[in-house]
Symmetry: C2
Subunit: 385 residues, 2 copies
């Protein structure tokens, strides 16, 4: 059948006027272009194979699935025919019949450049590799406000698009995450954790990462350390801030609130935050940044403000984005195992889908990558030019 705008109808169905117009169109088309069902003779189904091999469709199905109920002889005979006809099972039919769709959704936040982000990209690489290896397809979704408002994130399960979803770049503020939890749909939050909901998650050890960063700076003699954070509502950001404050207190160092600033995870935000912190506290000798992009921004601001890195101010980032190893000065940073996190998230999600019921809560360790943007604290004499 020729039904050219059927799915368009579905989309605009909320608007009655639209619907009516479309209905008229459809009627006309039905009259103008009479049904011309083109049989695709090339697409062969399990029935063809069964007929040609002289067995029942059930037997062919069992051969496809290596069911031991089928004798070696029959198995081979049917396999040969499958080969010859080039038969490949229709995945839609398999999914309809079976319990699983063998696909997962990846949800990204509604940022303008979510698909071009090195952080997401690295996690996604891990997910894609693993999912591919385990025979799962990947659906890409962006959690735009309208998408959530219309409940499309739940539709993903309710209409059986996917078996599970991986959520990247979300935090407590994103209430839709709880919907998955409430309906017991398999979902894993990647690189964050929700404090009041028992959602499944895999996360980098941000507490450890912050310790490593602070260790590094304190050992180099820094005491006046600024913090450029982002998404303060998220658990991981709170942990970083917590470690930052604790370590400063232990070192009898200043912890004024004006020494920390939100950098919104962006380059420009990082630059602006650095400016604010340096303006309020010219004695700052080191900046600890919540991600590499903000660190890059800070670096840019410092350079443009005539401060030398690391001679005047040290900068340490977090993420270990590939190409920041090559900027000048190259960035000291906390390496997050993002690829591995993606792999792990995928593994755990699939386990959960297959029926494992334990709560997923995995943490992966970070490590320090020492490069050029950090150095020993400037001596007091050199401090006032």
């Amino acid at each position: 059948m020729n039904r050219p705008d059927k799915f368009k109808l579905d989309d605009s169905a909320t608007n009655p006027a639209d619907t009516d117009r479309a209905q008229v169109q459809k009627t006309q088309i039905t009259f103008d272009a009479p049904a011309e069902r083109e049989k695709q003779p090339d697409r062969i189904s399990i029935r063809e194979v069964a007929r040609e091999a002289g067995v029942s469709v059930a037997t062919v199905s069992m051969v496809m699935n290596n069911n031991p109920r089928i004798s070696r002889a029959t198995h081979l005979r049917v396999r040969k025919m499958i080969e010859r006809l080039g038969y490949q099972p229709n995945r839609m039919a398999q999914s309809l019949s079976g319990r699983y769709t063998q696909s997962l959704a990846v949800m990204l936040p509604p940022l303008r450049h979510a698909f071009a982000d090195a952080y997401f990209g690295e996690i996604l690489s891990g997910i894609a590799d693993r999912a591919g290896k385990l025979g799962h397809k990947l659906l890409l979704e962006q959690a735009k406000p309208q998408f959530i408002r219309e409940g499309k994130h739940l539709e993903l399960f309710e209409r059986r698009f996917v078996d599970g979803v991986l959520c990247l770049g979300f935090n407590e503020k994103h209430h839709f995450l709880q919907d998955f939890c409430a309906k017991e749909f398999p979902a894993v939050i990647v690189d964050n954790r929700l404090s009041h909901t028992p959602c499944d998650f895999v996360v980098c050890d941000y507490r450890l990462g912050a310790q490593q960063a602070m260790n590094c700076l304190l050992q180099l003699g820094h005491r006046n350390i600024g913090l450029i954070y982002a998404a303060p509502e998220s658990c991981t950001a709170r942990e970083v801030a917590d470690v930052y404050l604790t370590r400063l207190q232990e070192a009898d160092s200043p912890t004024d609130a004006t020494r920390r600033h939100d950098g919104c995870f962006t380059d420009e935000g990082g630059a602006a935050a650095a400016e604010q912190i340096l303006a309020a506290h010219p004695d700052t000798t080191a900046l600890f940044c919540g991600n590499d992009k903000m660190a890059l921004g800070a670096l840019r601001y410092l350079t443009s403000a005539g401060k030398r890195v690391p001679q005047d101010v040290s900068v340490i980032g977090c993420d270990d984005i590939q190409h920041l190893a090559y900027v000048s000065p190259s960035l000291t940073t906390i390496h997050l195992p993002l690829y591995e996190l993606g792999v792990l998230a995928c593994d755990k999600l699939i386990e959960r889908i297959r029926g494992k019921s334990e709560h997923i809560a995995e943490t992966l360790p970070t490590h320090l990558v020492l490069r050029e943007s950090t150095g020993i604290v400037p001596t007091r004499s050199a401090e006032s030019p």
Copy 2:
């Protein structure tokens, strides 16, 4: 049914030993954990709706699809029941029964950081927005060698995973593109064109872009212009090189082969290429780079080599990657309408899927974005310090 490693079997079926071991496992599991089919009472189907509304399933289906054969009264009554029961059609059943899956695949090249690339990200944004609006889901695939070797790109169609595929970042060298063409599977090559195969494509007007870049440089007085290109086998790269050479010849300017160099689309490649060109031709006053990443690399090399940009050497890029507006000096570049290209590719692909048969060959115009990395050619006196 509990069939935990069924799909694992599928994967490893090529290895007989593996298969045997798995068969044993499967048998054991079947015995150990007897079938425990949990009925999901919440999931309601079209049949429930029909029963509750006192009509046939056909009527409900027709209501869902706004078929005008159904009277206003029945339509409303059934809609109400659909609403009340929260019925949502199972997409797998729809796809099996209908002609379309309402999903598209996006194929990316097998680069390590394909998912984190600003160029792909921008196109992908356009695709995702458009596909979402038209009710299509997006499958993400990476064209790894093994993937192609196993024919998984054709499986995408043959097993009815998707209705069409969008190919990003490929060129003539990627022979699998022709497979789509040969089998008449709907596929659109995005931002490139194949010279000897009538594959569908949408592309930026690289010839125009190159004209704009060369105009800019020539008007600023530059005559000794280097070219950093990439993927010389691709049509678009050849067009750029062609325009570059033609314009230089018209201006009686040097066109030595050593004034152009492959930068592999990467930051580091761009830096290395710049170094090569400057070494061979210290008189070079401008570099035209095939993309922004290579331009950034060139910028970095020039700065590190003590050349000032744009006072000593001008640099012009191509792509107009967002955050390069903020580097210092900010990058003059050719803006490619990548988002719009994604939208267009999606539109055209869906038209093709719905039966339109004209060859797809669309070109979108580019424009110059003048920023700080280009300037007037240095005077001869200043040329030799």
